[in-house]
């Protein structure tokens, strides 16, 4: 089944780019076949410029069409292909093979803490349920202004970092507190609440603080920084959570 690629590979010499073989050790799960997840190794020919996603595509297109994973834009914007690569949450489309030591088998697993549907696809519903709970939309009162809602660059800068979130769930599914029972709101929900709490145009800040002032809200954050390390957009997630905590404390005292 495997090794059909070897014969075809040498012909397209891709310019100066070096090519090498790489082994991907993928966590396979198919509930229609077995309740147990298993590891399966695939060896593919890859170029120095290839990403994990390219290798996954090669496997799916040329070796085993049953391999299941999500991807949409394939360029690090849509946040569909977050997965656990060599034990760390990353976007498959932003991770170059050469950066994760292709000499050894590269492990690829679904993100942790969310129910696996098949292979690398997880059920994102718990993640989006928390996201919906924090009301990720502008809340205002009174009449609509006849022109734009003015905001100074300084006010905009307060929440600039948290506008970058693409909802890939890399942070939430890297959080050990979330792994326990999935009841914690998770970093992504807090980041998106932060984006509105610190928006000078928004008037729902205290409602959102009230929602996150929950037993499962910001107070379950243990500042392990897993989320900050996992974020493919470089958002300072832990810092944002701490800022929400601070806002709650200044509100309470």
């Amino acid at each position: 089944m495997t090794a059909t690629l070897e014969a075809a590979a040498p012909t397209p010499a891709a310019g100066e780019i070096p090519s090498f073989t790489v082994t991907l050790r993928i966590r396979r799960f198919n509930p229609e076949v077995s309740e147990e997840a298993t590891w399966q190794d695939f060896t593919v020919e890859a170029h120095g410029t290839d990403r994990i996603l390219d290798a996954l595509h090669k496997i799916k297109w040329d070796e085993d069409g049953s391999l299941t994973f999500r991807r949409s834009c394939a360029h690090g914007v849509c946040g569909s292909d977050a997965m656990r690569i060599n034990g760390r949450n990353r976007l498959a489309c932003k991770t170059l093979l050469k950066d994760v030591n292709p000499e050894k088998p590269i492990t690829v697993e679904p993100i942790k803490g969310l129910p696996v549907v098949k292979d690398l696809v997880v059920d994102m519903e718990p993640f989006f349920a928390s996201y919906r709970e924090i009301m990720p939309f502008l809340i205002t009162s009174g009449n609509e202004p006849s022109k734009e809602r003015y905001q100074s660059p300084e006010d905009r800068a307060k929440f600039d970092d948290t506008t970058k979130c693409i909802l890939c769930a890399a942070c939430t599914s890297s959080c050990p507190v979330f792994w326990t029972d999935g009841q914690y709101f998770g970093p992504a929900a807090i980041v998106n609440a932060h984006r509105f709490i610190f928006d000078s145009r928004d008037e729902g800040g205290s409602q959102r603080l009230e929602i996150l002032n929950d037993k499962e809200g910001v107070w379950r954050c243990r500042t392990t920084f897993n989320c900050t390390e996992a974020c493919p957009r470089g958002i300072e997630v832990t810092k944002a959570i701490q800022e929400v905590k601070r806002a709650m404390i200044t509100r309470a005292f």
């Binding site: 326990t180 929950d214 809200g217 379950r220």
Partner: protein, 154 residues
């Protein structure tokens, strides 16, 4: 209709819908978070003060005997100091372990049992400690005088 519900029931086990338990909002966790920071700062002063007085001042560690402890607990300052240290340390520690149980116990039953044991241990230590600090007799009768604090006359 009946067909539809049957299909849903069949799908239920592998893909059971996500349920967030009903909201547990309130300031409890906020106050507990603030308490951990505040009590931590106070405990640093209390514990290092305690260590300094017991181990560094005068003869230091060699001076500790029944009379030394009895003499300290005859003084209201040290009674309050030790009481505060006991209570703050116990609440701080218990709250910390409670947090760890919340983070690591996955099932509600395990969580409940562990927290029950924790509360029991907390109650025993705090009650016993408080009792000792307030009912301690520095000058028990029929004890050899050289073992007691200097103010014991009997």
């Amino acid at each position: 209709m009946a067909h539809g519900t049957a299909a849903v029931a069949k799908l239920d086990s592998p893909r059971s819908p996500y349920v967030r338990r009903k909201t547990t909002r309130g300031n409890y966790e906020l106050y507990s978070w603030v308490f951990m920071r505040a009590s931590g700062v106070v405990l640093i002063v209390l514990i290092f003060g305690h260590l300094f007085v017991n181990l560094m001042v005068g003869d230091g560690v060699h001076a500790i005997d029944f009379g030394f402890v009895g003499g300290k607990w005859a003084n209201p300052l040290w009674q309050v100091w030790d009481l505060l240290m006991l209570w703050l340390a116990m609440i701080h520690g218990t709250n910390g372990v409670r947090t760890i149980i919340n983070d690591y116990a996955t099932r509600d039953l395990t969580r409940g049992i562990l927290k029950g044991l924790l509360l029991l241990a907390f109650a025993v230590v705090v009650v016993l400690g408080t009792l000792v600090i307030f009912t301690f007799d520095p000058c028990p009768p029929d004890a050899p005088a050289e073992l007691l604090a200097s103010f014991c006359t009997a």
